[in-house]
Every structure is written in C-alpha cells, then in structure tokens.
Symmetry: C2
C-alpha cells in the first residue's frame, strides 16, 4: 500500500514534468545584463594571499577590535546568516543602534562602493569605519586598535606573514587590507549562476517565469550586473515621492542637492535571507518590498500574482555560503599587556 | 481695424491666461532629482584661470592640431551648433567617418565620464584622444603635436601664461588641460533652470505637463541630475532586446560581459538641437527617439499624445549658448618652422 502511494507520487511528478516542461520564456540574450558571480572579487591594489585572507578572517571574527570586546565584524555581518543580522538596525557598543541596516558582507566587495551611501570606495576603506564608530565597535583611535593588535603575539606573527615587505606590518591600514582581502572571497554562487551559464534546469519553470516577470517589470533597470544590484546609485522615490526624508542618503556624503534620497541600489543576491529590507529595515517581507519598489521607483501598481512571481524568482537568488572558508577560526591569545574590555 | 485685431489677440491671450493658469501639476519635491546647471563644472585637479581658458579656446578652434590643418575640436563639436555637428558620424582626416556620433561638448565636463563608452575619466583625458585618432585629427604622435605648438610663438607665450609654474609648459598634457579648462565653462543654462529655481512661469503649461509625463513615464530613471543624463551607464535594450549588436559600447572598454550594449546615458540638455540621436545617429526625430526608448528601455508602448507631450518638455531643455565666451578667437600665427598641412 505504502509503495503504491509512493509510486503514484513518482509517476505524477514525472507526468507533470512531461506536461509542463521547464521551457524558458526568458530571452537569454537579455540575461547578459546580469553575469555570473566571480570566484574572487579581486583588487589590483590589494592582491590576495592565503596569509592575508587567514589574518583577515581572524580579524573579522575578533571582538577585541571593539572597546568592550563584545562586537566583531561578524556580530552585525554574520557569515552564517548571509553576512548580516536580520535586524532593522544592529546593536553595537553598549547596545547602541546604528542608523542604517547592516548590509550583507557577502558579494559586497564587487559593488561600485561600500555602505548604503557609497562613502567608502572599497571594502578595505569600509573596514576602517565601524571599528572607530562610537555606536559600533567604539575603539577610541587607530592607535588604540594597533596597541591591541601588537599586544597579541599571534597577530604580530600573522601581520608579518601577511605583509612580508613591511618594516612595521601591524598598522590600522593593514588591518583593513587584511579584512578587505578576506571579504574579497565572500561570494555565494548558486542556482542562478548555473542558469546563467546555460543550464535551464537550474531554475524551476515558476522561477524562470518569475525572472521573466522581473525583466518585463523593469526591475533590472537598477538591479543589474553580477550582483543584481550594487552597481549604481538611485533615488528612493524616483517616480512617486518618498515620504520619509529623515535619511537623505548619498546627499549626506556629496552635498549635491540632486542626490537627496539617493542610495546605492542593494544587491538582490540572497535577498530572501537578508530582510528586513531597505536602508532602514522598515519593510518586513519581500512581497511588500517588491510592491513598494514598483510603486515608487517604476510608477507601477503590481497585482498580487505579479508580485508573487517576482518573489519566486528572488528566492532563487539565494546562493551557497562557502562554509569551509567562513568557519570561525581559532583566535590568537591575548597577552598580559592586552587592554581589558571597557564597558564604559 | 488693425489695432482692433491686435487688441482682440491681446485680450484673448489675457483671457486664456486667466482661464488656463499655468499651474504646475508637477510635484516640485521630485524635481530635486535634476538640479540646476552649475556656472562652472569645476575640477580640483585642473583649477581654472583666464589664461588657461583663453589658451584652451584657441586650441579648441585650431585646425593646426590636425595632420592636414583642416579639423579642429570645433569641426565636430561646433560651439555655435550646441557643441556637435548634427551628423550621424563626423568626417575627420581625409573625410573618414568616426564610429560613433559626436557627443555635444556643452555641459559634458559634468558627466560621470567622457565618450559614449566612458573610456576617458574627464574632459582633460578626453581631449587627448581625437588629436591622435587616425580617423579624426590624425596627428602621428604627441611629440608631433608639441612640435607644432612650439613652432608658434603665440602658443609658447600662452602656455607660459597658463602654466606659470612649469619649467617646460608646452606639453601634450598641458594642451589637454587647457582644452579641458575651456570646456569646463561650456554650460548652457536655460528656462528649465529658471523653472527648477522656482519660477513656474519659465515653462509653459504644456511644457510642465510634458515634464509631468516625462516623470510619470519613468524617463528620469536614467536621465537625471543637472544634465538630465550623463550620470550613469545603462544597457541599450534593457527590457526589450536591442537588435543591433555591432557596437557593444562599454563592454569594449571594460571587457565585462554584463556591460555589453551599455552606453553612457546621454544628457538631454539641448536635445532638440543635437540630433540625429543615439550613439550611431540612427534616429532622426525626437519623437522616434522617445518612442524607441520607452519601448526598449521601459517596456512601454507610448501613444502619440504621450510622446508629443514628452517631446514638448524636451524642447524646453534647450539652453543659451554663452556666445561671448565661445566666440572664435584670433589664432596665433604660424612661423616658418611650423609643419605644413599633410593631406596624406
């Protein structure tokens, strides 16, 4: 009896496949707009070595880079949760909340720039920010960070190995270079990349239909390139005025009036796993995010079926975390001279 | 009788103004996306002096920077025709045609980059290209250009005045710096800027309605900022596949697969005066350009009234040429040692 039931389901599934072949309606020529994730997001100014990425990994996980030894890069950009923390705003030193939602660290190194407002050119520059930000890791100065690192013999050795040409390798800048180097391999290729490479079976028929809906709706106007976003700045409320003017985004960096409410278009890689959405984490669900984007950015009111179709595609953008690469490493031991946690 | 007729028309016009006040339907908050033209498109790395812009003006108009002394910057970027030549492709040395339509030099210095494919970062870098391009000005080498300049006593003096700190001021690089400096004041503010500044009467009711149509259609997704374009790269055939793959645009510069068919979004400033349109000058009329853009970039089929409304607005983007600034200067005289024209 049980076997008969099983057989019935297997045959039904086969029949369904025959009746509904996963034929793509998508014009493959249009897919060139995306492009597969690279294996490594390389930088000419920060060539990668294993010594450097190994050091960067330790630093990424090390809470001793924070004033109270309780916040690391990984606290807000958790590598087992797609490089972020699923919170609207992240708690930093003494539980203080940041002003914008922590963007995922996966695939970030390939973006046009870093932070929601693009105020850092690359991940190396980005890495210097949170360590000194009083509401994040709250270290008082670059010198204080270097003092911590120099007090830990394992780090002195690791910096020496990572920056063999440097007379004084333990510097704040080299800390950022190592963290940046580590982040340049944080890529999450997935089924979408197999599909882009030509394997139609890598996405279900529904997901391919969703991709077609995505393309016909015009989402790729901003969400393009290998990261399905991250390649340009765009105005929030492009067609319909955005009501919340409390964060003016890129204007706060450039001072250009016309860049008020401009933000870096976020990548949609792993978007199903990285809510809540938008720079302020104000949107809970992907359905709402899609609907609001269509209304304010494209001037389109989407019906529920259209939204659902796009969301079906977006869920297929979840990739694979490189688990071995991002496994938490053993951190080098403090010495007697290592500054103690400071909860003040 | 004649006076009665005149009075009738004056009264009719007044009545029409009373009946149809030019009330803007445009949400002024959305206009921040544009931004007025600056008076000067400044560069920290090329501070402007009158000596430098005066030299740049002479160089811009001087055909002796071409092999046969018959092509100047102004030949293809005519300053009395809105900085271009109204041709699909421009004739250069021996009448050879370039591969892309000459983009207008007015307002160009404020763009994200130069050329249709962004292969030069700024106008200074741009200015170095055409002089040596064999189908444009066709000079054989930088040294040959410098030899021409050094053979003209008036230029030796002018370079000295423009670059007073330089031991050897007559260089190819300084030639480009001077031309770039001159171009940084090629701005054409017009009625649209008065409107942006708050003067509703600067645009007619029809033009304001056209602006609203422009915004509701989503043209500003790419045509944004003070130049109504020029601020980002976008794929030609974003929603509907572009049939002509003979020019792959930015891909030819970066080699990134996903940038195939990407071009710098052109500025719409003075667009009514700068046809034919697109990188290959393949589109004759503004109406056709608007219609094709809506279809291929936005996936929208616009009816004739909508196209006409947008075109009415686009025509209001024509600004004022700074006639005194761009008047052709007297060029310094050649000497006996100045190389002769070479028609080969």
């Amino acid at each position: 009896m049980k076997t008969t039931v099983k057989l019935f389901f297997v045959l039904s599934a086969l029949a369904a496949q025959l009746l509904l072949p996963a034929q793509s309606e998508v014009n493959r020529a249009q897919l060139a707009l995306f492009g597969q994730l690279p294996e490594v997001m390389e930088s000419a100014s920060n060539p990668l070595t294993e010594a450097k990425t190994d050091l960067g990994r330790m630093l990424y996980f090390d809470p001793r880079l924070s004033k109270n030894h309780d916040v690391s890069c990984n606290s807000c950009h958790g590598l087992d949760t797609y490089g972020q923390d699923n919170l609207p705003f992240s708690p930093g030193h003494k539980g203080q909340l940041g002003g914008r939602s922590s963007p995922p660290s996966y695939n970030a190194a390939g973006h046009i720039s870093q932070f929601w407002d693009g105020r850092a050119a690359d991940v190396e520059e980005q890495a210097k920010g949170p360590v000194l930000n009083p509401v994040e890791m709250a270290m008082p100065s670059e010198e204080a960070v270097v003092a911590v690192l120099k007090s830990i013999p394992g780090y002195v050795d690791a910096f020496g190995a990572a920056f063999p040409g440097d007379a004084d390798p333990v510097t704040y800048n080299n800390m950022a270079m190592a963290i940046g180097a580590f982040e340049r391999k944080l890529v999450t290729p997935g089924r979408f990349d197999a599909y882009l490479a030509g394997d139609d079976s890598a996405l279900t028929a529904e997901e391919q239909a969703g991709l077609e809906t995505f393309l016909n709706t015009g989402c790729q106007t901003c969400h393009m390139g290998p990261y399905v976003g991250g390649s340009l700045y765009q105005k929030l409320g492009l067609v319909k005025e955005w009501p919340d003017k409390s964060d003016l985004g890129r204007y706060e960096v450039t001072g250009n009036e016309f860049e008020k409410l401009f933000f870096k278009v976020p990548s949609l890689r792993n978007v199903a796993e990285t809510g809540p959405y938008f720079h302020n984490g104000s949107i809970e669900t992907l359905e709402e995010a899609v609907s609001v984007m269509a209304e304010y950015q494209l001037g389109r009111e989407l019906d529920e079926a259209t939204v659902d179709s796009i969301v079906t595609f977006l869920k297929a953008l979840t990739g694979d975390i490189p688990e071995a690469y991002v496994a938490k490493p053993e951190l080098p031991e403090s010495s007697a001279s290592t500054p103690k946690p400071d909860p003040t």
